[in-house]
């Protein structure tokens, strides 16, 4: 539904050139909820705005809904107003001089496809109903709360019946509780309408809960794209792994099925890893603690240095052979003290070859 190939964009300013996009490739299938995740300056917003037609890339190709929208080779640039996509902006961009109804109706009366008055009324009513704002149709936009503006923005984007919906950090201006509520709403609406969504965020929880697939971006490149659990469990690089939360890194030397790390020898899930320097990543929740020695591979002895109660769980600092490991465990039992056994399941380890440089 959205196809991006070798897309690049460079901003040239007084302080030098910024490579916002470096030959980015992307494929979003029909009906897919696709999230672009990355820190600010990673190029995710530039990519989204390029798909919308609000930025003109320097090179590459964009296809939206099966139609070529941009091609540097063919010198083709379809302007934003011809692409027929819906978009929700970070600021919501609710027109303050119009009512809720007029906000949703304006693209239908002034836009590419202009509808008869009766159809407009029906469409607006449907769209407002979809987001639960039908009672607010007559309300002037400045009298809406942030969450209401957000929902009107969604209704407005959906009212034009787009095949593709673009969303630029739509939740970043909402407070935490409202964010969760609107997130659920967005997901439900997207599924109901089976619209293809391209969604930009810097919040990995948001990305994980919403996405069918996520592309992690940094420095104008896509580091890895895949389903949320795939990115979490099998990150392609330490950088991607770190993006999805805390992780313990252990350096070592691989020999056959075993890696000699700074805290001791660990058996790997795969036999015969190529010998050499590698880094092993273990998530805190995969560091299993017990007072009694477990019957398994990779059980080490450690000391509890600190245990922090955070509500649903404990966060432990465990010293193992002079190195501190972060561990996370359910708080349904008493906190562990003193000497504990640390089990690192080999299936839950992420292995990376250490950069030769």
């Amino acid at each position: 539904m959205i196809r991006v190939a070798k897309l690049s964009k460079t901003y040239r300013g007084a302080s030098g050139a910024v490579h916002a996009l470096r030959e980015v490739d992307l494929d979003v299938a029909r009906g897919e909820f696709f999230v672009l995740l990355g820190p600010s300056g990673s190029g995710k917003t530039t990519l989204l705005r390029s798909v919308a037609g609000l930025e003109r890339p320097d090179g590459g190709e964009i296809e939206v809904g099966g139609h070529a929208a941009f091609s540097s080779e063919r010198k083709l640039f379809v302007p934003a107003e011809e692409r027929g996509v819906g978009m929700v902006f970070q600021s919501y961009a609710i027109w303050p001089h119009l009512t809720v109804f007029e906000n949703v109706a304006l693209p239908l009366t002034q836009g590419k496809k202009r509808l008869a008055r009766e159809r407009v009324r029906q469409r607006v009513a449907d769209a407002l109903k979809l987001v639960g704002m039908e009672e607010y149709a007559a309300r002037p936009a400045p009298l809406l709360s942030g969450g209401q503006q957000q929902r009107v923005a969604l209704a407005r984007a959906l009212a034009i019946d787009p095949e593709v919906l673009l969303m630029d950090e739509p939740l970043s201006n909402l407070d935490a509780r409202l964010r969760e509520e609107v997130r659920v709403k967005i997901k439900a609406v997207a599924r109901e309408l089976r619209v293809t969504v391209l969604y930009v965020t810097h919040d990995q929880v948001e990305a994980m809960t919403l996405a069918d697939r996520i592309a992690v971006m940094a420095d104008g490149r896509i580091l890895q794209a895949g389903a949320p659990d795939e990115l979490y469990r099998r990150p392609a690089s330490p950088r991607v792994a770190e993006f999805f939360g805390a992780i313990n890194w252990l350096r070592g030397e691989a020999r056959g099925g075993v890696v000699e790390t700074e805290i001791g020898a660990l058996r790997l899930a795969v036999d015969g890893a190529a010998p050499g320097r590698i880094v092993v990543g273990v998530r805190p929740e995969d560091v299993k603690l017990s007072a009694a020695r477990a019957e398994a591979d990779n059980v080490l002895v450690g000391e509890v240095r600190s245990a922090v109660f955070t509500g649903g769980e404990f966060l432990y600092d465990i010293e193992v052979n002079g190195k501190l490991l972060l561990a996370r465990a359910m708080s349904d039992r008493e906190a562990l003290k003193g000497t504990v056994f640390v089990h690192l399941p080999s299936a839950r380890m992420a292995l990376f070859r250490e950069d030769p440089s």
Binding site: A52, P79, A80, E81, E82, M87, F89, S91, A93, K113
Partner: protein
């Protein structure tokens, strides 16, 4: 057929380029005129006009007069405007909102009307004040018809501008810097001299440069007071070269002087922006809104502050206008006395050339509506390209749109007169029509329109427009349905302001008006020049009356003035 975006965008760019090209053209014409001469052998190009200009003592006297006039005007404007700004922004003076009201009202008083009032007050022979002085010291006189006198009158008129510009500086002063001084034991006058004033200095300097630029271009006051007494400054010099009492017009000399002053005014504008930038580097203006420290005024302080402000409001604004109205009710000018009161009559009003006056009023009314509308339409096109588009060369477009602000209006008038008379004469006979005035007024005011809309557009989140764009609304519909409604307050404010400036415009009209396209200010000035002073006063009083509804509308709709980019 529906246009796709690049086409609509190109249309908009074309609309914006028309005034820009015209401005550049009008500014190049003096250069061309100044080096070109017709001889029997055809046109020749030489620096003859410049040699003639700079070998004539009259040119130097004019330059000298202009320098004195400018300095006195700037000094006067700052000595009233800066303390007033400090009082309003940095003291606890009660009811100081009134000061703002009167000061902005002062910006609207036509300079040539005040100048007429001052002639009635300080004319060497008939002046009211001089007559009073003469009763005490017979041989003593104040001569208003001198560069110093004219500079003083001009300065009184520019004081509101100095006030508004420096008030912004005082308002944005960071109170922590003064608090730091106070904590370290520097207080009172010493804190004012060592901290407050140096911090406000870039703002005051910028205002001073700005006012010098306006003084350099000033036409109305020197025209009303100086022309009949043969005391010339730059603008009236150009006027007399084009409208000489005897002999043929000397466009070449006028153009050469124009080029010289254009260079001067250009450098001043450059300096102005440099000082402003330096001020920003000073980090005095941070954009954060502070509540500046306010100096507590005791009872004595309040008294002195109101005294000072009242003195300015009285002599700077009320006195000349009152004198004007008083004079209009007299057959010949005399001091207020019982006998004079008995002689008051409306004979001057009955004697006004009413058909002519009505013609002028009609043309002026048409110009007010048309100029404001065209300026805002063109400015929207230019400002959108400058602020919103990423078109290459948009900053050049912005600078060109600003040029009429930096260049004296009389130079525009000179170029336009030349083009209309000698270039367009045969195929577009525009000279002597109100449309020539319309075109030049519009070009002149586009600088103000674009400054205002640049600021207003920058306040509107670009996503409001992008939302419309992504959802299929084409450029012109976005402008009409989204931007214009959002900019409505700025548009209304700007429209009224431009209309009022058009109402009082005399400088450009002086070179472009003929009996067929006369404007109201030109009728009044014409009466004045013909020597019927009291009748001119009656015309002026009528001018004030006609203006009232607009001033009222302005107060009603747009109390918030756009002082940035004003040209009084």
């Amino acid at each position: 057929m529906r246009f796709s975006r690049p086409t609509q965008r190109s249309v908009l760019i074309a609309i914006a380029l028309i005034p820009a090209a015209a401005i550049v053209g009008l500014l190049l014409i003096p250069v061309w005129v100044s080096i070109r001469a017709d001889t029997d052998a055809g046109a020749v190009f030489s620096l003859r006009a410049y040699r003639a200009l700079f070998s004539d003592p009259f040119s130097y006297r004019t330059l000298f007069n202009t320098a004195i006039f400018c300095s006195i005007a700037t000094l006067t404007a700052l000595s009233f405007g800066v303390p007033a700004a400090w009082i309003v922004e940095r003291t606890t003076l009660p009811r100081k909102g009134l000061v703002f009201t009167f000061m902005t009202a002062g910006l609207l008083i036509p300079g040539f009307l005040s100048a007429m009032g001052w002639v009635f007050l300080l004319h060497p022979r008939i002046g009211l004040v001089n007559a009073a002085i003469g009763m005490v010291v017979p041989e003593w006189r104040i001569n208003i018809a001198s560069p110093v006198g004219m500079g003083f009158v001009q300065g009184l008129g520019l004081a509101p501008l100095a006030f508004i510009m420096t008030a912004a500086t005082f308002r944005s002063a960071n109170p922590e810097l003064e608090e730091a001084a106070a904590v370290h034991g520097i207080a009172g006058v010493r804190a004012f001299l060592r901290v407050t004033l140096p911090l406000a200095w870039p703002g005051i300097l910028a205002a001073a440069i700005y006012i010098v630029t306006i003084g350099l271009a000033a036409f109305e006051v020197p025209a009303v007071i100086g022309l009949s007494n043969r005391v010339f400054t730059f603008s009236t010099y150009i006027y007399t070269q084009v409208h000489p009492n005897e002999g043929a017009p000397r466009y070449d000399l006028a153009a050469a002087f124009g080029v010289f002053v254009m260079a001067l005014a250009g450098s001043l504008s450059w300096l102005y922006f440099r000082v402003l930038r330096h001020g920003h580097r000073f980090a005095v203006v941070t954009g954060r809104s502070y509540r500046p420290r306010q100096t507590e005024l005791g009872r004595g302080g309040v008294f002195f502050a109101w005294m000072f402000l009242s003195v300015y409001l009285f002599i700077g604004q009320l006195l000349p206008l009152l004198t004007l109205v008083w004079s209009s009710l007299l057959r010949y000018f005399q001091l207020p006395s019982a006998a004079a009161f008995a002689n008051l009559s409306l004979v001057n009003y009955r004697g006004l050339p009413w058909p002519h006056l009505i013609d002028g009023l009609k043309n002026t009314a048409f110009l007010m509506a048309a100029v404001s509308t065209f300026v805002l339409a063109l400015s929207l096109a230019i400002s959108w390209i400058v602020v919103r588009s990423k078109a290459r060369g948009r900053f050049v477009l912005d600078a060109v749109a600003f040029l009429p602000h930096a260049v004296p209006g009389i130079i525009f008038a000179l170029s336009a007169a030349y083009v209309a008379l000698f270039v367009l004469r045969d195929f577009v006979p525009i000279y002597g029509t109100v449309f020539l005035l319309l075109a030049v007024y519009v070009l002149e005011r586009t600088s103000f329109g674009t400054r205002m809309l640049n600021n207003a557009l920058a306040q509107i989140h670009p996503e409001l427009e992008e939302a419309g764009q992504v959802m299929g609304i084409a450029l012109f519909r976005r402008l009409a349905r989204i931007l214009v409604p959002l900019l409505a307050p700025a548009f209304l404010n700007g429209w009224l302001w431009i209309a009022l400036l058009t109402y009082r415009e005399l400088t450009i009209a002086s070179l472009l008006v003929t009996p067929d396209n006369v404007t109201l200010p030109m009728v009044i000035w014409g009466l004045w020049q013909s020597g019927s002073f009291t009748r001119a006063a009656a015309g002026a009083a009528m001018g004030l009356v006609f203006m009232l509804p607009f001033v009222a509308a302005y107060w009603y709709f747009g109390r918030r003035l756009a002082p940035e980019g004003l040209k009084a």
